[in-house]
Symmetry: D2
Subunit: 350 residues, 4 copies
């Protein structure tokens, strides 16, 4: 159910409608749009009575939303969601292409700084690095944890890069929410509903990766879990799905980009590193992602891929990253985007 | 790495080897076999020095295990793992076929008791019912929680059925471990490594469902996560994988049964209810699972499927369950199994 | 469109309705049932005028069939199709389980006879052997062709086994139709519509294998292609589909058996040899197929699998086949089937 | 096996080596390279004796090729294959992006000409249109056959467009080879080995579409089938594979583009129309294909998609095609390609 307020509705009227909804035992989600505010109603106690809602002052109309996801849907919010990072000009979802780059895992301070310096210089606005690693085997490197978060906080200070890192569970979520700028939820946790809900209680952007066998609807439903708790800043990320094809590690499903953009107002990024698992395919697929209209890319860069503690074979070299940024800058205008090259480095230097 | 003890090794010698291993910063897992005990060594700090180990008293040989999973592998433990439930004659993994039946969700006391009575009378030894439900949508019924656990505890008392129910997160895990006989980890959490590790710290059997797109190796690696924490009573469960086929909800991959039995000593069950999502297919696929050699089945039974709060279309009627038990009893001897019909009801009545 | 004739309609009336339909430029397919005859109307020239048809004598009613497949549908023919082989008591689709066994390829006369003798003695009623092989590589053994057909004809004479072999193209189709008892169309040709149509012009049973990525509807539509040309004796065969799972060569989708039996009157067999690609999985999955309700199995048996020119690793040994027949005989009654053990050998000897 | 000739080997020496190979019962495939000629040896009669070959005059070395495909492999021919069309400057596989556009089916002369005029004006060098249609149902429009071929021949005359159309079987293959410039083999026939071989006997470029569940190796092996008969002008085409994802009709696997370019010298195109089945996704995925490095695209354009006899929902409008060409022209330089806009129209007008 969606309450669309009149264009001239006052903040007090919006507030009153929200309170009315919450008094009925539902949850109200005010969603400001360009022209007017809509209020999403969620909750699993059946249907709200539409009649009374329509008579509250400031209400234009009450609409039933039939899709399983509501808050994530364009039906509820037509304009693209643009996520801003206070104190910087970095955005995700707007005209600027978002580039998130860095190593799979933070291995030590030197490695992290070396890579951060290079990706910042090449124009990335975001730095990614694993602190808590979801590893298939219990016997492999599981990440440096808090130490990695501290290193990345220094990197933010030094290079002006916003930090993106994965939370695996309650404990790491609290830490990531405290130290990072974007909380990443990995593909294997895309349907860890308990973690999604808890993530929704923070007021920090969330990068949600598509599960290995998630349909588009399931993907958006997982975003909805986060949003239903009040955190509307969800960034979706395609990272390859599991198919019979064996020439890449996963099959990068780029067609999900236009499909999501039709249905949802949330930004959608693409991770060509996990999506292919092969260094040689990262540049072609990163270019393809941007050409398909993605809001940005997430790419693994390592200064010594052969010595990486995880995902070495899919990490590109810093000079490949420089070349990629150059290529993306040429493709961006075709899809009405812009790649704000080098701006952040300057900002950080200031 | 695996330390194989001599047949005549004493408990003290075994203990001494374990302590030696732990002192080196690794973890020791004594695995008693029919003839002698093997001690698995796990940990992610590199390789143990083999030479010193071989010289400890009671040690027969030290073997490098090359597979990614060790404790779950037949290389480490040749005999089938049989899980016993103290105070009953119910087992999983031995000659008796394990039958776990009940509704998708516990909806209320009357519904649960009505179904429990019928499945017990028909010969099920285990009762399943959801207390905490992992739902794709945040707006649908999420389970009765603790109330459901209490109802199931009464059912155990009354009908002698062992209780199997799913844990979703830390909080529900603690409750499920306290109230139930088997902790179920659902398909969507198969790679929630944090939850797996935590589950491994309990001393209670764990039923681990295969993820929707998990390979055989990933499935066994997830069992290994639990076992690496010291909980060796892991029961695997095939519940259908995601494919292009659209005549069933998932594609039940029965060939995983013989494949797992070759590689692992752990029991493997089949869930034809989730695996097909269609009532008409449950009986055929349950028969097929037993004929393929599965150690048992997990089947949803509901007295009023049309009114079920979840998964109604795939729940069979109690009279279908009676017919199924009759059919399984005829197939069981072909695969050297036995279906201990009605025994538990008598036991409970006594 | 389907014309249902009255129970007491005469052959002349049926004939007259067929002629009327054909005069309109459509094709009439009389389908005799237990009670009365239905006449399917096919053709791609739009809709027949229903009014005039209803007024022809002997017509009970005219029904629109909405499914994409008609002749293959149970809507059009409710009773199971049972395929008979004149001069023998072998059937496919009835109470008797059909067992088709033999080597992947006919390699020479001795090999073929050795295997045929053993499978006949164990109770198979049908012998399979490749004469024309669809090989992924142009550089591997492509079959003995006509020579293989001649060897199999001798085997029919000697052991009373009916012959099943694959046709690849127009040339081999003409030969197979001449020499064999059942024309097999392989998975890779399931949507070779030109070959399907041509196969439909023969009056010989066709064993149609499911394509590697065919949905249930596409599978039935391919049967419909054959039937639309007037050949109604189509036997379906599940042989595994392509998925991400890598523990077997393909994923055997047994749930297609009950799904097809709900929608279609055609018999459905299962090929556990191609469906798994692994000898160890053949027996478990063959038992599972019969327990799931399949009308029979197609299984590769080789006396020297290690020396087989094709598919050795998935061929079972003759003694495994004997054991399998024994197991199937025990499972068959559970699904109201019968395994006519050894009967044909006697018949052939007579 | 591959015989590499010396750089200065004479045509007579090359000829002599080929004759020697053929005398042994194998097939010789001379493959001229930039520096020197290699001669591929194929046949399924075992191994050639290497020693004698090495002693023939002009031979530099004899190399064993271990991959299952040889002639399609870069091991055998390092330079990209560029396919030329005599009498035009159209190429496939070189610096110019190949654009093949037109309706799914040729429905009538007016429709075909209207579309051809528009795609030619917008810069397409090739016209595609179905004459023989592989339809899932036997009851739907199957194409105009020879009449369609005649219409396309007129279109070639009038607009200077090269003609690409599908052959389904022996009969249509002979006609297509006679009337068209490129013989298309559809996805459902990718493993119709008999048709592949027959296609290999023509000396006309072949556009081979990837099967719905073909691995990269199987795709190249099917190209090898054609090449092993002496037709080396094979153009590969990705058109989507079958997965669980349901937001598009198939999942377009763009990562196959760089993967094929590493392994094979053959050109690889992408068909975003069949690959997505949705008009809204065609432009994004066409841009992505070119950005990923594809040698060109195959796209369905229809002037009245709502009235199309087949595949209407995935056909783009002519004005969308104009926009696409404009976008591709901007992306092409990033991947060192060129889109020869409008050239052919002028040529045709001249």
């Amino acid at each position: 159910m969606l309450v669309v307020m009149k264009a001239q509705a006052t903040p007090e009227q919006i507030q009153a409608v929200c309170e009315y909804i919450e008094k009925l035992g539902f949850r109200a989600h005010p969603l400001p749009g360009a022209q007017r505010t809509a209020i999403g109603i969620t909750g699993n106690k059946g249907e709200v009575d539409r009649g009374n809602l329509e008579e509250l002052s400031g209400v234009a109309e009450v609409i039933r939303v039939s899709k399983a996801y509501k808050l994530a849907s364009r039906d509820v919010k037509e304009e693209d969601t643009v996520i801003r990072f206070p104190g910087t000009d970095a955005t995700i979802g707007g005209r600027d292409l978002a580039v998130i780059a860095g190593p799979c895992s933070i291995e030590n301070r030197d490695q992290a700084f070396a890579i951060a310096e290079q990706v910042a210089a090449a124009g990335a606005q975001f730095f990614r690095g694993g602190a808590f690693k979801p590893r298939t085997s219990p016997y492999t490197f599981q990440g440096l944890g808090l130490e990695a978060l501290r290193i990345m906080a220094e990197i933010r200070e030094r290079y002006g890069l916003r930090i993106v890192t994965e939370a695996l569970d309650n404990e790491s979520l609290d830490l990531v929410a405290e130290w990072a700028d974007v909380i990443q939820i990995g593909a294997r946790n895309m349907q860890n509903f308990s973690l999604l809900k808890r993530t929704g209680r923070f007021r920090k952007p969330v990068l949600l990766k598509r599960g290995l066998s998630a349909t588009l609807e399931e993907f958006l439903m997982s975003a909805e879990y986060i949003m239903s708790e009040g955190n509307y800043e969800v960034i979706l990320c395609e990272r390859g799905v599991r198919t019979f094809a064996d020439h890449t590690r996963y099959t990068l499903d780029l067609s999900v980009v236009p499909a999501i953009q039709r249905l949802s107002h949330l930004p959608i990024l693409v991770d060509p590193s996990h999506g292919t698992g092969k260094r040689d395919s990262v540049l072609p697929m990163a270019r393809a992602a941007v050409a398909a209209g993605a809001d940005g890319i997430l790419v693994e860069v390592h200064n010594q891929p052969d010595k990486a503690l995880s995902d070495g074979p899919q990490s590109i070299y810093p000079d490949q990253f420089v070349r990629l940024m150059d290529e993306l800058q040429q493709i961006a205008p075709v899809v009405a985007r812009h790649l704000p090259r080098g701006i952040h480095v300057t900002a950080a230097a200031g």
